[in-house]
């Protein structure tokens, strides 16, 4: 559970830091300021959806940290074998990195208001992301063909589990991507999709980092 605890203590530190700023030296019972001099209410000056995404990423991180914790605890079992990592995963990682880069470029284009580049960037990152998912399925097929079924060994089971959970998160992101791309293709103003593009970019970078960590964990399995 070490990994989950490290993550949680980091998160709690952030929460506490923010709350300390909100609460220390505040004496709510003495405050009676009038509206004119009210200095805001301590809310974050971000759109709510961005805060929402941030909270969701914390939840998702908790999920992945717990999976990795479980992986490491289960690895101590005597029956654990080394995972024959399918080579296609290297290719998939590169594709996901490219998808993330494409998202980043889309975000830049959206900020500058260039509709055509937003369109091409979104499509590029979407195609790359779907290729990544197809590549993951291909990796599953390779594992399966080589006789490494899900039940044969916990190392394989974890491989399927981790890639599936990550893939489902990416699919969720692609749903938002679909809606955004449909809007862009219908030719709405760039300003109307800028926020969605920014959210997608953050989410794609996050899923890239998660994938790289998971990949490293899978590679680092001991025999």
């Amino acid at each position: 559970m070490t990994y989950a605890l490290i993550f949680l203590s980091g998160l709690m530190a952030i929460v506490m830091w923010w709350l300390v700023r909100q609460t220390v030296n505040v004496k709510p019972w003495t405050e009676q300021r009038s509206v004119e001099i009210m200095q805001g209410d301590g809310g974050l000056s971000l759109p709510s959806v961005k805060v929402g995404l941030g909270v969701f990423l914390a939840v998702a991180t908790s999920l992945f940290a717990l999976l990795i914790s479980a992986y490491h605890m289960r690895m101590m079992g005597e029956d654990w074998t080394k995972l024959p990592v399918p080579r296609v995963l290297w290719l998939n990682s590169a594709v996901l990195i490219l998808a993330s880069v494409a998202m980043q470029r889309t975000r830049a284009a959206a900020r500058q208001g260039q509709l055509e580049r937003v369109k091409s960037g979104l499509i590029a990152s979407g195609v790359l992301s779907f290729s990544f998912l197809a590549g993951q399925l291909w990796a599953w097929q390779q594992m399966d063909a080589a006789g490494y079924f899900v039940a044969a060994n916990p190392a394989y089971a974890f491989f399927y589990l981790l890639t599936a959970v990550h893939g489902l998160h990416l699919l969720g992101g692609l749903w938002v991507w679909c809606k955004t791309t449909a809007k862009v293709l219908r030719g709405v103003e760039v300003g109307k999709v800028r926020l969605s593009v920014e959210l997608c970019t953050v989410y794609w970078h996050y899923l890239l980092v998660v994938w790289l960590v998971l990949f490293a964990v899978l590679l680092h399995t001991h025999t």
């Binding site: 605890l5 019972w29 405050e31 509206v35 805001g40 209410d41 589990l161």
Partner: protein
């Protein structure tokens, strides 16, 4: 006030913060079924949770019948006794208490108390409810599948949970696990709403430190739930795979009923870690909203500001943080390293400190307060008693050497029910009596309420006090029937009978409460906007019950904290949070501030008063 300068760079929200695009329902279905109004969703959550809770209550009645009068009822056999135990526990903890406190009270109170028009993501909020309902239906479906619901105990420990011989090892357990996974997905949707609404949608002047403690409790509980539920999610998925695809995440190599199973090397202890990594925060997911609500009930009905508001907030935060490092105290009997146990015993005892602080503050709030023994107040005081009783036995069980002999006995059942079942349920009742007038516009019947309180309160003591004693005698929990032992005297059985009779009376009396809810909805005394003369924003709405959008044309601005009760010199004994400081007072106040008389403050009428009174 002259010392406060205008910092132009500081973020000052406009008069109406991010006016949300409210969903405007056109039909009955849009308004009450597929509703995106947090208040309607709250009622949907509450009705579903209470409905499924009644099922669990009936199950507990059947269990008590078996324990009090063994072999008298042919329809209870050992298998379905275990199934009833399991379903009762899981429904009560997750599908009733968690859903009711966060989905029910959270949805209703957060937007109203922080001064928002609705949750920030109303659509996601609606989906949250329907996913929750789906999870409930899946769980209920397990009563009707071959083999029935799982009988593995509410902790679902592998390997027994999925081995033949345990009731419901095929269909029941899978439905349970899948239902839990859906519950978590639904909850995450709702939880995002609760957290982001508190962070983002507070109205002008509503700083974090002016939030009522109810909101603080629900806020922190939601954060805990968002971070802890993934542990249950992970374990549910992994156990589902173990059951359906034959993986060995949790399943060791074993021989079952003479057959070698295909499992190999899995770790049941890993499941216990994951389960309790969720399971212990879960205790506080239920307790923190209860703490918050009870703080507000006591302040309102004792007409006094809450004692030590900042301490209360920090205690909530400390409990939330600590609740993640005590989980293994549920695993003392799993054969852990003694030093590991020592660590968790220490953290368990440390968490008693902020909890005790809260209890002292409640008692000090009552101290010399103008106590009105209304029904909500009775339940709040009943909670304080029960929580202290349950908490003290927790100190026993937190110590490894005491826990090991007691952990398999009824003592644990008694402790757990005092602290985690009766205490929060008393708060649920208190909260319903308190907020029902706002939700429906009518008061609940007072006489029926008092009758309900006294029977429930005294009845639960009649149930759980003797149960501690049974535990000391060594009466084991989870047993369908005792049989004969050398150490348990015959009289234990008569005690069990008495407990069963008390339990059936308490269970039956809840009908009075349900009757009161329904009768008062049609015939209750009209409540008016603010029957308890409370300060918080939900009582200041232009309409009762509040309409969609909550606050009419403009959102309220907040000038003070939530606890200005019995302020000396004020015209009334409460000052609503949105009441501006008086004109005359303002000039005086500035003069006072300028002359550095920091130790004085002014109330609405313009008279100075000592700080913190």
């Amino acid at each position: 006030m002259t010392s406060i300068t205008h910092d132009e760079s500081a973020y000052v929200p406009p008069a109406e913060v991010e006016e949300p695009e409210l969903y405007h329902p056109k039909s009955f279905v849009g308004k009450y079924i597929w509703s995106q109004d947090a208040k309607v969703i709250a009622v949907q959550y509450a009705i579903t949770a209470i409905g499924v809770g009644l099922v669990a209550l009936v199950l507990s009645g059947i269990m008590r019948l078996q324990l009090g009068f063994p072999h008298a009822f042919s329809f209870i056999n050992p298998s379905n006794y275990l199934q009833f135990v399991t379903m009762h526990g899981m429904i009560m903890v997750i599908y009733l208490l968690t859903a009711l406190f966060l989905g029910g009270f959270g949805n209703y109170l957060i937007p109203l108390m922080v001064g928002a028009r609705d949750m920030v993501f109303p659509y996601v909020n609606m989906v949250s409810y329907w996913v929750y309902l789906f999870a409930v239906l899946l769980l209920m479906a397990s009563f009707f599948v071959p083999g029935g619901p799982t009988g593995s105990g509410w902790t679902l420990y592998p390997p027994q949970a999925i081995l033949p011989g345990t009731p419901g090892a095929n269909w029941g357990i899978v439905l349970m696990l899948v239902s839990l996974a859906f519950f978590i997905i639904g909850f995450t949707m709702g939880g995002l709403n609760y957290v982001v609404t508190v962070l983002q949608a507070r109205t002008r002047g509503m700083t974090m430190m002016r939030l009522p403690l109810t909101v603080w409790g629900i806020f922190m509980a939601t954060i805990l739930a968002l971070l802890a539920f993934p542990a249950l999610f992970v374990s549910a998925i992994m156990m589902t795979l173990d059951q359906t695809l034959g993986t060995s995440f949790f399943m060791p190599a074993l021989v079952s009923q003479g057959q070698h199973l295909n499992y190999n090397g899995g770790s049941p202890i890993l499941f216990q870690h994951l389960f309790w990594f969720f399971g212990h925060p879960e205790v506080y997911i239920v307790a923190l909203p209860a703490f918050g609500i009870v703080s507000d009930l006591i302040a309102v009905h004792a007409r006094k500001n809450i004692f030590g508001y900042r301490m209360m907030v920090w205690a909530i935060l400390a409990i939330g943080g600590l609740s993640f490092v005590v989980w293994a105290h549920h695993m003392y009997v799993s054969g852990m390293n003694p030093y590991f146990g020592f660590f968790f015993a220490t953290t368990t005892l440390i968490i008693a400190i902020p909890t005790a602080l809260k209890v002292y503050n409640w008692v000090l709030t009552l101290w010399r307060g103008n106590i009105h023994l209304t029904v909500p107040m009775l339940f709040a005081i009943g909670f304080v008693f029960t929580f202290i009783n349950g908490g003290l036995t927790g100190l026993f069980l937190g110590n490894v050497p005491v826990d090991i002999p007691l952990s398999g006995t009824m003592f644990v059942v008694a402790h757990f029910h005092m602290v985690m079942a009766v205490s929060p349920v008393l708060v649920v009742f208190g909260a319903i009596y308190h907020w029902y007038p706002k939700i429906t516009g009518r008061m609940l019947n007072d006489t029926l309420g008092k009758f309900h309180f006294w029977v429930t309160f005294l009845g639960t003591y009649a149930i759980y006090y003797p149960m501690h004693y049974l535990g000391f005698l060594g009466v084991p929990r989870r047993y369908y029937a005792m049989g004969t032992t050398v150490f348990v005297p015959e009289s234990a059985q008569s005690l069990n009978e008495a407990i069963t009779i008390a339990a059936l009376i308490v269970g039956a009396i809840q009908v009075v409460f349900l009757y009161n809810l329904i009768w008062s909805y049609f015939k209750g005394k009209p409540a008016g906007p603010n029957p308890w003369r409370a300060t918080t924003l939900e009582w200041q709405t232009p309409h009762t019950p509040p309409k969609h959008g909550n606050f009419g044309a403009t959102l309220p601005a907040v000038y003070r904290w939530a606890y200005d009760y019995s302020v000396p010199g004020a015209a009334e004994d409460f000052i609503p949070q949105n009441q501006p400081p008086g004109k005359k007072a303002k000039g005086l106040e500035q003069a006072l501030d300028a002359s550095d008389l920091g130790a004085q403050k002014l109330d609405g009428a313009g008279t100075p008063k000592p700080i913190g009174s």
